[in-house]
């Protein structure tokens, strides 16, 4: 009959359309048994539509957390509202290989998923349609930009030679910590450190050896301080260390540890053994300071005094 011909024609037409779409289309009933599985899904899953038809999605894909997905689908059934899932949330629903196996560096296909309600004649949701979008290119680009931004941030903050914060960023952090400490009335201590007779190291062994010494003291500082301490390269051979929630007397212990470690170790630069020492000045914050630079000034004076009175020592002001 012409009528049924038309229907079968239109079904074929719809099937051809579903097959040509560059996205996965999966229709399941309310028991999550698969009813439609388009070409995209066949090709990427390597499972034929006939094979999966009538099977429960969770049986065929045990990796999909059943409770989690059912929770997501709850509003689709109950409220007939579409639900969207993005790759940032879950990288994928179906674990497929990336579409471009050679030129894309993803091990799998990132997916955005839309779950839409399909209503029956009486207006109830009795089937769900999963639309599976390949979001791999979008995801890789986003991740690449995020990674680059992170690198840029690090580059702009960190001193290349030592890996400590550079002066600009250290100052920014110091100003912030100062403001916080004023508000919270917490006790913080600032430590300034300078390598003794650094010019002599440079003149005797060369600038590259000087760099090795600077790297060595930076490593010593890193090893002797906590993760929450803010350590920066303040000038050529001068370093600034802010110790939050630390009284001056405890900072002295840290300073002495650094001083002794430096005194006790030798730097081996291409066979040349270099011995050096350092001086440290310490100042605890007080409510007399009205701006952060006054505090730095006092710590600097302590450092100057350590230098004046013989070097290789710690002075508290």
């Amino acid at each position: 009959m012409p009528m049924s011909n038309k229907i079968s024609e239109s079904t074929e037409w719809v099937n051809a359309l579903l097959a040509s779409l560059e996205m996965g289309i999966v229709i399941v009933n309310n028991n999550y048994e698969v009813e439609v599985w388009n070409q995209f899904m066949e090709n990427h899953s390597k499972i034929d539509a006939q094979e999966i038809s009538g099977q429960c999605l969770f049986k065929v894909f045990p990796d999909i957390e059943e409770n989690w997905l059912k929770n997501k689908c709850k509003p689709v059934f109950a409220l007939a509202t579409p639900v969207f899932m993005i790759w940032e949330q879950r990288k994928y629903l179906f674990q497929f290989e990336a579409s471009r196996p050679v030129t894309s560096d993803a091990d799998f296909m990132y997916q955005n998923i839309t779950i839409t309600p399909l209503l029956n004649e009486s207006g109830e949701v009795d089937k769900l349609c999963f639309l599976v979008y390949d979001a791999t290119d979008q995801a890789l680009n986003k991740l690449r930009v995020d990674r680059l931004n992170k690198q840029l941030k690090t580059i702009s903050r960190v001193d290349g030679l030592t890996g400590l914060y550079n002066r600009r960023y250290w100052q920014e952090r110091f100003d912030l910590e100062y403001k916080l400490s004023v508000r919270s009335k917490s006790c913080n201590t600032l430590m300034m450190l300078d390598i003794d007779h650094f010019k002599k190291v440079n003149d005797t062994y060369g600038h590259q050896a000087g760099d090795a010494v600077i790297r060595h003291i930076a490593d010593t500082i890193k090893a002797a301080t906590r993760e929450t301490d803010v350590c920066g390269r303040y000038g050529g051979e001068e370093f600034a260390i802010l110790l939050p929630d630390t009284e001056a007397k405890n900072a002295v212990t840290v300073a002495e540890r650094i001083r002794k470690l430096v005194q006790a170790t030798e730097v081996d630069y291409e066979g040349q053994i270099i011995k050096y020492t350092c001086s440290l000045g310490i100042a605890q914050n007080t409510n007399e300071y009205t701006k952060p630079s006054q505090w730095i000034e006092i710590a600097d004076q302590a450092l100057y005094k350590a230098k004046e009175t013989g070097r290789n020592k710690v002075v508290v002001l």
């Binding site: 957390e65 409770n67 989690w68 929770n71 997501k72 709850k74 509003p75 109950a78 409220l79 007939a80 509202t81 579409p82 639900v83 969207f84 899932m85 993005i86 940032e88 949330q89 955005n112 839309t114 979008y133």
Partner: protein, 346 residues
């Protein structure tokens, strides 16, 4: 003698819509109030044997108004007309002494049935004569008012969806509708502390008469509580991750879940009132854990003037608030206004 009735709603459009839906042959003397305080004055003047009362209003809301009516034992019969369609809201107002509760947009047959049930009116049910005599104005104020009322009804339906899903009462505010410049969005958002860390997702929507973006904004402290509410069981299932990553992940899931439910239901509510089909896009993350101004400024890049609808949902029993923003290019206003009126007239 004509029966004095009072219609109390902050939206001029809603006041007229209620007036229009009254049966033609009901002999009434209609007067209006914009909020509860005005309503109380008019009841005291004997102008309200029947009071049609909205719930979400500025100055004095419907709940407070009913409290005053009961305390002073004022002579009026209250029929609540509200976009808040939560079962809990209905229960509350009946407990507070309302005769009945009728949902917005008003169904004339339902209204007639209520009037009939309580013996207030038992004439003819037809109500199409007032239709012609009470017109909606055409000024910018009128258009914004229609938009506010449309959002009000849609947000009520969305709130109800969330309430059902979480089994919690969701408090509905008065939607804030304004025309702003796109660089003023952060300033215009009233309900979020400018120093709080926020996260947001945006979803685009398009139809013949309306297009724009729906943004869900969360304060970070609330995201934590909400993720605990939505995923009480997931805290144990992913122990292999470090805590921070897991927490971040759960917060993103919570943000997406709420966005799916609220935006989905709200857009459906608007689409239904405009009788259009709306296409939505996959949501996109605007920012996580950043300042509001940063989140907005880094993302807004188009449209000079826009309509901002701000809806601040809150769930007081679990101490969670979040914001739904609808941002629409200003030309949507006329298109939606015309469409809305033509759907109403049919």
């Amino acid at each position: 003698m004509a029966l004095p009735i009072l219609i109390c709603d902050d939206s001029s459009f809603a006041r007229k819509a209620i007036a229009r839906s009254l049966p033609d042959e009901w002999d009434v003397e209609i007067c209006f109030a914009e909020h509860g305080k005005q309503a109380i004055e008019k009841i005291e003047q004997g102008l309200a044997h029947v009071l049609f009362l909205d719930l979400n209003m500025p100055v004095m809301d419907g709940y407070e108004t009913m409290k005053v009516i009961r305390q002073r034992d004022l002579p009026t019969m209250v029929i609540v007309v509200s976009g808040d369609v939560q079962e809990e809201a209905r229960k509350r107002v009946i407990e507070m002494g309302a005769l009945d509760f009728i949902e917005k947009p008003i169904d004339n047959a339902k209204l007639f049935a209520i009037l009939h049930k309580f013996g207030i009116y038992d004439g003819q049910s037809s109500s199409d004569q007032r239709q012609c005599s009470i017109k909606t104005g055409n000024s910018l104020e009128d258009k914004l008012d229609v938009f506010r009322e449309m959002s009000n009804v849609a947000m009520g339906q969305a709130g109800n969806s969330l309430a059902k899903l979480l089994n919690i009462f969701v408090e509905l505010p008065v939607p804030n509708v304004s025309i702003i410049h796109s660089n003023e969005i952060a300033m215009a958002i009233a309900e979020i502390d400018k120093n709080d860390a926020v996260s947001g997702v945006s979803k685009g929507f398009t139809s013949k008469n309306l297009r724009g973006e729906a943004v869900i904004l969360f304060n970070d402290t609330h995201a934590k509580s909400l993720s605990a509410l939505l995923h009480p069981d997931e805290s144990s299932s992913q122990v292999q991750n470090t805590n921070d990553i897991k927490q971040d992940h759960l917060e993103l899931e919570a943000l997406m879940d709420v966005s799916n439910i609220i935006v989905g239901a709200c857009l459906r509510g608007i689409a239904k009132q405009l009788d259009v089909d709306v296409t939505h896009t996959t949501p996109s993350i605007l920012g996580l854990h950043c300042e509001l101004s940063e989140l907005v400024e880094e993302n807004v890049s188009r449209w000079e003037e826009l309509i901002l609808v701000e809806i601040a949902y809150s769930m007081p029993s679990v101490n969670i608030n979040f914001e739904l923003l609808l941002l629409l290019p200003v030309d949507s206003l006329d298109l939606a206004f015309e469409r809305f009126l033509s759907v109403r007239e049919q």
